[in-house]
Subunit: 156 residues, 2 copies
Amino acid sequence: MSNISDLIERYLKELLAASARGMIEIRRNELAEQFNCVPSQINYVLATRFTVEHGFLVESRRGGGGYVRIMQLPRDQRLDSLSQLLNLVGREISQRRAQAIIERMREEKLITDRESRMMQAVIDREVLRLGLPARDQLRAMILRAMIISLLGQKGE
Amino acid sequence: MSNISDLIERYLKELLAASARGMIEIRRNELAEQFNCVPSQINYVLATRFTVEHGFLVESRRGGGGYVRIMQLPRDQRLDSLSQLLNLVGREISQRRAQAIIERMREEKLITDRESRMMQAVIDREVLRLGLPARDQLRAMILRAMIISLLGQKGE
DNA sequence: TAACTTTGACCTTGACTGACTTTCACCTTT
DNA sequence: AAAGGTGAAAGTCAGTCAAGGTCAAAGTTA
Protein backbone atom coordinates (compact mmCIF):
# COMPACT_ATOMS: atom_id res chain seq x y z
CA MET A 1 0.00 0.00 0.00
CA SER A 2 1.35 3.37 1.08
CA ASN A 3 0.84 5.77 -1.76
CA ILE A 4 2.17 9.29 -1.39
CA SER A 5 -1.15 10.69 -0.18
CA ASP A 6 -1.24 8.23 2.70
CA LEU A 7 2.32 9.12 3.64
CA ILE A 8 1.56 12.82 3.63
CA GLU A 9 -1.54 12.19 5.72
CA ARG A 10 0.43 10.23 8.28
CA TYR A 11 3.17 12.83 8.38
CA LEU A 12 0.73 15.67 8.98
CA LYS A 13 -1.06 13.73 11.70
CA GLU A 14 2.24 13.05 13.41
CA LEU A 15 3.05 16.73 13.32
CA LEU A 16 -0.36 17.50 14.75
CA ALA A 17 0.01 14.95 17.51
CA ALA A 18 3.36 16.40 18.45
CA SER A 19 2.13 19.97 18.47
CA ALA A 20 0.98 21.52 21.70
CA ARG A 21 -2.24 23.14 20.56
CA GLY A 22 -3.24 20.64 17.92
CA MET A 23 -2.39 23.19 15.29
CA ILE A 24 0.34 23.28 12.69
CA GLU A 25 1.37 25.54 9.87
CA ILE A 26 3.08 24.36 6.76
CA ARG A 27 4.31 25.73 3.47
CA ARG A 28 2.53 23.94 0.68
CA ASN A 29 5.47 24.14 -1.70
CA GLU A 30 7.99 23.00 0.87
CA LEU A 31 5.89 20.01 1.85
CA ALA A 32 5.39 19.10 -1.78
CA GLU A 33 9.11 19.22 -2.38
CA GLN A 34 9.73 17.13 0.72
CA PHE A 35 7.54 14.39 -0.70
CA ASN A 36 8.57 14.88 -4.31
CA CYS A 37 5.11 15.63 -5.50
CA VAL A 38 3.32 18.46 -7.15
CA PRO A 39 1.97 21.17 -4.80
CA SER A 40 -1.62 20.54 -5.72
CA GLN A 41 -1.34 17.06 -4.31
CA ILE A 42 -1.18 18.66 -0.89
CA ASN A 43 -4.58 20.13 -1.62
CA TYR A 44 -5.79 16.71 -2.62
CA VAL A 45 -4.66 15.23 0.67
CA LEU A 46 -6.24 18.05 2.64
CA ALA A 47 -9.48 17.78 0.70
CA THR A 48 -9.79 14.03 1.13
CA ARG A 49 -8.42 13.51 4.63
CA PHE A 50 -8.60 16.69 6.65
CA THR A 51 -12.18 17.81 6.25
CA VAL A 52 -14.58 19.04 8.89
CA GLU A 53 -16.12 15.59 8.95
CA HIS A 54 -12.73 14.24 9.91
CA GLY A 55 -12.56 16.79 12.68
CA PHE A 56 -10.08 19.20 11.16
CA LEU A 57 -10.16 22.79 10.10
CA VAL A 58 -7.88 24.05 7.36
CA GLU A 59 -7.09 27.70 6.80
CA SER A 60 -4.63 29.18 4.40
CA ARG A 61 -3.28 32.33 2.99
CA ARG A 62 -1.86 33.01 -0.43
CA GLY A 63 0.77 35.43 -1.54
CA GLY A 64 4.18 36.14 -0.09
CA GLY A 65 4.55 34.53 3.28
CA GLY A 66 1.58 32.33 2.61
CA TYR A 67 0.84 29.24 4.68
CA VAL A 68 -1.54 26.40 5.28
CA ARG A 69 -2.78 25.99 8.82
CA ILE A 70 -4.30 22.72 9.96
CA MET A 71 -6.22 22.59 13.19
CA GLN A 72 -7.56 19.61 14.99
CA LEU A 73 -10.89 20.49 16.51
CA PRO A 74 -10.70 20.28 20.31
CA ARG A 75 -12.82 17.75 22.14
CA ASP A 76 -15.47 20.01 23.53
CA GLN A 77 -15.97 21.71 20.19
CA ARG A 78 -16.47 18.34 18.64
CA LEU A 79 -19.53 16.24 18.13
CA ASP A 80 -21.21 16.90 21.42
CA SER A 81 -24.80 17.18 20.44
CA LEU A 82 -27.01 14.88 18.48
CA SER A 83 -28.40 17.70 16.39
CA GLN A 84 -24.89 18.76 15.44
CA LEU A 85 -24.17 15.26 14.28
CA LEU A 86 -27.38 14.98 12.30
CA ASN A 87 -26.71 18.34 10.79
CA LEU A 88 -23.43 17.05 9.50
CA VAL A 89 -25.21 14.18 7.82
CA GLY A 90 -27.87 16.23 6.13
CA ARG A 91 -30.42 14.96 3.66
CA GLU A 92 -27.88 13.21 1.49
CA ILE A 93 -24.29 12.20 2.03
CA SER A 94 -21.44 10.63 0.10
CA GLN A 95 -19.72 7.47 1.23
CA ARG A 96 -16.55 9.40 1.91
CA ARG A 97 -18.16 11.90 4.21
CA ALA A 98 -20.17 9.21 5.97
CA GLN A 99 -17.01 7.20 6.57
CA ALA A 100 -15.32 10.21 8.07
CA ILE A 101 -18.21 10.91 10.39
CA ILE A 102 -18.38 7.33 11.62
CA GLU A 103 -14.64 7.26 12.13
CA ARG A 104 -14.87 10.42 14.16
CA MET A 105 -17.63 9.00 16.32
CA ARG A 106 -15.41 6.02 16.98
CA GLU A 107 -12.44 8.18 17.89
CA GLU A 108 -14.57 10.08 20.33
CA LYS A 109 -15.85 6.88 21.88
CA LEU A 110 -19.43 7.69 21.02
CA ILE A 111 -19.59 4.23 19.46
CA THR A 112 -17.59 1.04 19.91
CA ASP A 113 -15.26 -0.50 17.35
CA ARG A 114 -17.84 -3.14 16.56
CA GLU A 115 -20.55 -0.56 16.10
CA SER A 116 -18.39 1.54 13.83
CA ARG A 117 -17.54 -1.50 11.75
CA MET A 118 -21.18 -2.35 11.40
CA MET A 119 -22.04 1.19 10.43
CA GLN A 120 -19.23 1.35 7.90
CA ALA A 121 -20.46 -1.87 6.36
CA VAL A 122 -23.97 -0.59 5.96
CA ILE A 123 -23.18 2.71 4.29
CA ASP A 124 -20.99 1.07 1.66
CA ARG A 125 -22.04 1.72 -1.91
CA GLU A 126 -21.69 -1.98 -2.69
CA VAL A 127 -24.49 -2.58 -0.22
CA LEU A 128 -26.65 0.37 -1.19
CA ARG A 129 -26.92 -0.62 -4.80
CA LEU A 130 -28.84 2.36 -6.12
CA GLY A 131 -28.05 5.05 -8.61
CA LEU A 132 -27.25 8.57 -7.56
CA PRO A 133 -28.66 10.67 -6.06
CA ALA A 134 -31.00 8.09 -4.50
CA ARG A 135 -28.07 6.24 -2.99
CA ASP A 136 -26.72 9.27 -1.16
CA GLN A 137 -30.18 10.07 0.13
CA LEU A 138 -30.73 6.55 1.35
CA ARG A 139 -27.33 6.57 3.01
CA ALA A 140 -28.28 9.74 4.85
CA MET A 141 -31.55 8.18 6.02
CA ILE A 142 -29.74 5.10 7.25
CA LEU A 143 -26.93 6.95 8.95
CA ARG A 144 -29.38 9.26 10.67
CA ALA A 145 -31.44 6.31 11.86
CA MET A 146 -28.37 4.59 13.26
CA ILE A 147 -27.12 7.68 15.03
CA ILE A 148 -30.53 8.38 16.54
CA SER A 149 -30.88 4.81 17.69
CA LEU A 150 -27.53 4.89 19.46
CA LEU A 151 -27.52 8.34 20.90
CA GLY A 152 -31.15 9.31 21.06
CA GLN A 153 -32.14 6.84 23.77
CA LYS A 154 -35.71 7.21 22.68
CA GLY A 155 -38.12 5.36 24.94
CA GLU A 156 -35.50 4.17 27.35
CA MET B 1 -9.18 -31.43 -13.43
CA SER B 2 -6.91 -28.51 -12.55
CA ASN B 3 -8.45 -25.68 -14.41
CA ILE B 4 -6.99 -22.24 -13.84
CA SER B 5 -9.49 -21.33 -11.14
CA ASP B 6 -8.48 -24.36 -9.10
CA LEU B 7 -4.83 -23.46 -9.49
CA ILE B 8 -5.44 -19.93 -8.38
CA GLU B 9 -7.46 -21.19 -5.44
CA ARG B 10 -4.70 -23.52 -4.35
CA TYR B 11 -2.07 -20.84 -4.77
CA LEU B 12 -3.99 -18.35 -2.65
CA LYS B 13 -4.62 -20.92 0.04
CA GLU B 14 -0.92 -21.73 0.14
CA LEU B 15 -0.13 -18.07 0.56
CA LEU B 16 -2.70 -17.85 3.32
CA ALA B 17 -1.33 -20.89 5.07
CA ALA B 18 2.17 -19.45 4.93
CA SER B 19 1.11 -16.05 6.23
CA ALA B 20 1.36 -15.30 9.89
CA ARG B 21 -2.01 -13.70 10.47
CA GLY B 22 -4.03 -15.66 7.97
CA MET B 23 -4.22 -12.56 5.86
CA ILE B 24 -2.70 -11.74 2.49
CA GLU B 25 -2.78 -8.84 0.09
CA ILE B 26 -2.49 -9.25 -3.64
CA ARG B 27 -2.62 -7.17 -6.78
CA ARG B 28 -5.40 -8.41 -8.98
CA ASN B 29 -3.62 -7.56 -12.21
CA GLU B 30 -0.34 -9.08 -11.13
CA LEU B 31 -1.97 -12.30 -10.08
CA ALA B 32 -3.89 -12.47 -13.33
CA GLU B 33 -0.70 -12.02 -15.28
CA GLN B 34 1.02 -14.66 -13.19
CA PHE B 35 -1.62 -17.16 -14.21
CA ASN B 36 -2.08 -15.86 -17.74
CA CYS B 37 -5.73 -15.09 -17.30
CA VAL B 38 -7.90 -12.03 -17.44
CA PRO B 39 -8.13 -10.01 -14.23
CA SER B 40 -11.82 -10.66 -13.80
CA GLN B 41 -11.12 -14.34 -13.36
CA ILE B 42 -9.59 -13.45 -10.04
CA ASN B 43 -12.96 -12.06 -9.04
CA TYR B 44 -14.59 -15.27 -10.16
CA VAL B 45 -12.27 -17.32 -7.99
CA LEU B 46 -12.86 -15.06 -5.02
CA ALA B 47 -16.61 -15.10 -5.55
CA THR B 48 -16.86 -18.86 -5.82
CA ARG B 49 -14.19 -20.09 -3.41
CA PHE B 50 -13.46 -17.39 -0.86
CA THR B 51 -16.89 -16.48 0.39
CA VAL B 52 -17.97 -16.02 3.97
CA GLU B 53 -19.61 -19.41 3.81
CA HIS B 54 -16.19 -20.82 3.01
CA GLY B 55 -14.72 -18.97 5.94
CA PHE B 56 -13.02 -16.10 4.16
CA LEU B 57 -13.40 -12.37 4.09
CA VAL B 58 -12.33 -10.35 1.06
CA GLU B 59 -11.73 -6.61 1.04
CA SER B 60 -10.37 -4.47 -1.75
CA ARG B 61 -9.51 -0.98 -2.80
CA ARG B 62 -9.49 0.54 -6.27
CA GLY B 63 -7.41 3.27 -7.75
CA GLY B 64 -3.69 3.79 -7.69
CA GLY B 65 -2.13 1.54 -5.09
CA GLY B 66 -5.20 -0.66 -5.02
CA TYR B 67 -5.19 -4.17 -3.56
CA VAL B 68 -7.25 -7.21 -2.72
CA ARG B 69 -7.03 -8.46 0.83
CA ILE B 70 -8.07 -11.99 1.73
CA MET B 71 -8.58 -13.02 5.32
CA GLN B 72 -9.13 -16.46 6.65
CA LEU B 73 -11.66 -16.56 9.45
CA PRO B 74 -10.92 -18.80 12.39
CA ARG B 75 -13.69 -21.35 12.42
CA ASP B 76 -15.48 -21.43 15.69
CA GLN B 77 -18.97 -21.90 17.03
CA ARG B 78 -19.88 -18.25 16.89
CA LEU B 79 -18.84 -18.00 13.28
CA ASP B 80 -20.89 -21.02 12.37
CA SER B 81 -24.05 -19.62 13.84
CA LEU B 82 -23.51 -16.29 12.12
CA SER B 83 -23.02 -18.14 8.88
CA GLN B 84 -26.27 -19.96 9.42
CA LEU B 85 -28.03 -16.68 10.04
CA LEU B 86 -26.68 -15.44 6.73
CA ASN B 87 -28.39 -18.31 4.99
CA LEU B 88 -31.56 -17.44 6.82
CA VAL B 89 -31.44 -13.90 5.51
CA GLY B 90 -31.15 -14.92 1.89
CA ARG B 91 -31.46 -12.49 -0.98
CA GLU B 92 -34.57 -10.71 0.25
CA ILE B 93 -36.26 -10.51 3.60
CA SER B 94 -39.32 -8.91 5.17
CA GLN B 95 -39.09 -6.53 8.06
CA ARG B 96 -40.83 -9.01 10.33
CA ARG B 97 -38.41 -11.82 9.61
CA ALA B 98 -35.46 -9.48 9.89
CA GLN B 99 -36.68 -8.33 13.27
CA ALA B 100 -36.93 -11.91 14.42
CA ILE B 101 -33.40 -12.70 13.28
CA ILE B 102 -31.97 -9.68 15.03
CA GLU B 103 -33.86 -10.54 18.17
CA ARG B 104 -32.49 -14.02 18.06
CA MET B 105 -28.96 -12.69 17.69
CA ARG B 106 -29.53 -10.57 20.74
CA GLU B 107 -30.83 -13.51 22.72
CA GLU B 108 -27.85 -15.58 21.75
CA LYS B 109 -25.58 -12.73 22.84
CA LEU B 110 -24.10 -12.45 19.39
CA ILE B 111 -24.85 -8.74 19.56
CA THR B 112 -25.36 -6.24 22.35
CA ASP B 113 -28.59 -4.44 23.15
CA ARG B 114 -27.22 -1.29 21.56
CA GLU B 115 -26.24 -3.15 18.44
CA SER B 116 -29.63 -4.77 18.16
CA ARG B 117 -31.33 -1.41 18.52
CA MET B 118 -29.18 0.01 15.76
CA MET B 119 -29.87 -2.94 13.50
CA GLN B 120 -33.60 -2.75 14.14
CA ALA B 121 -33.55 0.93 13.30
CA VAL B 122 -31.84 0.40 9.98
CA ILE B 123 -34.06 -2.34 8.62
CA ASP B 124 -37.24 -0.38 9.29
CA ARG B 125 -39.41 0.24 6.25
CA GLU B 126 -39.68 3.90 7.23
CA VAL B 127 -35.95 4.17 6.66
CA LEU B 128 -35.72 2.05 3.55
CA ARG B 129 -38.19 4.06 1.56
CA LEU B 130 -38.39 1.90 -1.52
CA GLY B 131 -41.16 -0.07 -3.13
CA LEU B 132 -41.30 -3.83 -3.01
CA PRO B 133 -39.53 -6.01 -3.88
CA ALA B 134 -36.56 -3.64 -3.97
CA ARG B 135 -37.00 -2.81 -0.30
CA ASP B 136 -36.84 -6.41 0.86
CA GLN B 137 -33.78 -6.98 -1.29
CA LEU B 138 -32.06 -3.92 0.08
CA ARG B 139 -32.94 -5.00 3.61
CA ALA B 140 -31.32 -8.35 2.93
CA MET B 141 -28.18 -6.69 1.59
CA ILE B 142 -27.96 -4.47 4.64
CA LEU B 143 -28.63 -7.20 7.14
CA ARG B 144 -26.06 -9.44 5.46
CA ALA B 145 -23.50 -6.66 5.51
CA MET B 146 -24.07 -6.07 9.20
CA ILE B 147 -23.77 -9.74 10.05
CA ILE B 148 -20.63 -10.10 7.95
CA SER B 149 -19.12 -7.07 9.65
CA LEU B 150 -19.36 -9.00 12.90
CA LEU B 151 -17.25 -11.80 11.46
CA GLY B 152 -14.10 -9.80 10.95
CA GLN B 153 -13.71 -9.00 14.60
CA LYS B 154 -10.78 -10.96 15.90
CA GLY B 155 -8.61 -10.84 12.81
CA GLU B 156 -8.19 -7.13 12.73
C1' DT C 1 -28.40 -30.21 -20.69
C1' DA C 2 -26.91 -28.11 -16.50
C1' DA C 3 -23.27 -26.39 -14.10
C1' DC C 4 -19.04 -24.43 -14.16
C1' DT C 5 -15.26 -21.72 -16.28
C1' DT C 6 -13.28 -18.19 -19.07
C1' DT C 7 -13.34 -13.93 -21.49
C1' DG C 8 -13.70 -9.06 -22.64
C1' DA C 9 -16.19 -4.81 -23.11
C1' DC C 10 -17.51 -1.30 -20.23
C1' DC C 11 -17.72 0.95 -15.54
C1' DT C 12 -16.41 3.17 -11.01
C1' DT C 13 -13.21 4.75 -7.83
C1' DG C 14 -8.95 6.85 -6.22
C1' DA C 15 -4.43 9.01 -6.96
C1' DC C 16 -1.90 12.30 -9.28
C1' DT C 17 -0.74 16.21 -12.54
C1' DG C 18 -0.29 20.75 -14.65
C1' DA C 19 -2.01 24.78 -16.81
C1' DC C 20 -4.26 28.56 -15.38
C1' DT C 21 -6.14 31.66 -11.68
C1' DT C 22 -6.34 34.33 -7.44
C1' DT C 23 -4.46 36.57 -3.51
C1' DC C 24 -1.11 38.89 -0.89
C1' DA C 25 3.15 41.54 0.78
C1' DC C 26 6.15 44.60 -0.85
C1' DC C 27 7.99 47.72 -4.02
C1' DT C 28 7.93 51.86 -7.34
C1' DT C 29 6.22 55.82 -9.30
C1' DT C 30 3.73 60.01 -9.29
C1' DA D 1 -0.16 58.93 0.12
C1' DA D 2 -2.45 56.60 -3.68
C1' DA D 3 -2.03 53.88 -7.56
C1' DG D 4 -0.05 50.48 -9.82
C1' DG D 5 3.44 46.84 -10.78
C1' DT D 6 5.91 42.39 -9.34
C1' DG D 7 6.86 38.05 -7.63
C1' DA D 8 5.66 34.70 -4.32
C1' DA D 9 2.70 32.06 -2.51
C1' DA D 10 -1.75 29.03 -2.54
C1' DG D 11 -6.29 27.49 -5.15
C1' DT D 12 -8.92 25.28 -8.83
C1' DC D 13 -10.34 21.91 -11.87
C1' DA D 14 -10.54 19.12 -15.63
C1' DG D 15 -7.95 15.54 -17.35
C1' DT D 16 -4.97 11.23 -17.20
C1' DC D 17 -3.50 7.09 -15.25
C1' DA D 18 -3.98 3.15 -12.25
C1' DA D 19 -6.22 0.10 -10.15
C1' DG D 20 -10.34 -3.12 -9.16
C1' DG D 21 -15.68 -4.39 -10.30
C1' DT D 22 -19.57 -6.05 -13.08
C1' DC D 23 -22.08 -8.64 -16.16
C1' DA D 24 -23.43 -11.26 -19.77
C1' DA D 25 -21.98 -13.99 -23.48
C1' DA D 26 -19.15 -17.66 -25.10
C1' DG D 27 -16.80 -21.86 -24.15
C1' DT D 28 -16.12 -26.25 -21.64
C1' DT D 29 -17.10 -30.28 -18.97
C1' DA D 30 -19.62 -33.78 -16.47
